[in-house]
């Protein structure tokens, strides 16, 4: 004997085309993405936020750039521990959100956390960070031993 009464599936409320326009948007965005950005997108689908991060270098510096639109400067934290740079923070929803008044909601609000292991040792006392136009740019000075050195070859 079944303990749960059989319920008629609610066929009448099934509307097959609702959500199709969303699907189309999602597909368009999927084709927009390049392969490395897909990982970030998957995190997003899982409800996590993984802002895109770039690492560049020149002779003396390592540059780390992170796309963080719409945060407050004081809500961003940067730390360096054993040559791993960690950027974390929180995007806060400033407006009061009422149920039903937002009909397109794609932005992510909440906490994020990104760590990157730096390719060469850096000087912990020479880290600069700037936040402008929604881009966080961290400049790190390479440690002396990590810099390329010209070695004079003595020919006798």
């Amino acid at each position: 004997m079944s303990l749960i009464r059989y319920q008629t599936p609610e066929l009448s409320t099934w509307t097959p085309f609702v959500g199709l326009s969303n699907l189309r948007d999602e597909m368009n965005r999927l084709f927009d993405l390049s392969a490395p950005a897909l990982g970030a997108r998957e995190d997003r689908l899982l409800g996590l936020w993984s802002p895109p991060l770039d690492v560049f270098q020149d002779k003396d510096h390592i540059f780390v750039k992170c796309e963080l639109a719409g945060l407050k400067k004081e809500d961003i934290g940067i730390s360096l521990h054993e040559n791993t740079l960690t950027i974390s923070g929180e995007r806060k929803q400033e407006r009061e959100v009422k149920e039903g008044d937002g009909f397109r909601s794609e932005r992510f609000f909440g906490r994020f956390h990104r760590s990157v292991s730096l390719p060469v040792p850096v000087r912990p006392d020479h880290v600069k960070a700037q936040y402008r136009d929604g881009i966080l740019a961290v400049t790190l000075a390479k440690a002396e031993e990590a810099k390329p050195k010209q070695i004079e070859v003595q020919v006798s």
Partner: protein, 131 residues
Amino acid sequence: MNTLTQTAQPAATNRAANGAARRVATVTPVANIHETAEGYILEAEMPGVGKDEIEVTVENGELVILGRRADKELPGEPLYRESRPLDYRRVFDLDPSIDSGKIKAKMEQGVLILTLPKAEEVKPRRIQVTD
């Protein structure tokens, strides 16, 4: 459906709109749209775009947002890259109830905030009951 619904804007229609075979790759910025009593608020994320690099145009009932990235390259060679050095573009259909002459735009740390007021005649209005 609703106002401000996004127009299908894949690369193919981009090309058609330009009238040329040149295909310009752009990124679609994520956006939130809220409705208030006065109108709509649209927020679009465009990190790397300053206030002088944004273009908002209204033409034929379409709202076009175009943001040019000023920070396409960092000094030095890339070691690891997730961001895309492309401009942002997105097109929305404008609801006829929006007073397109009164649209205001501002940039806040890479987020474009557009205020789209409704025309006076469509705003909710309290009607006094007379005796």
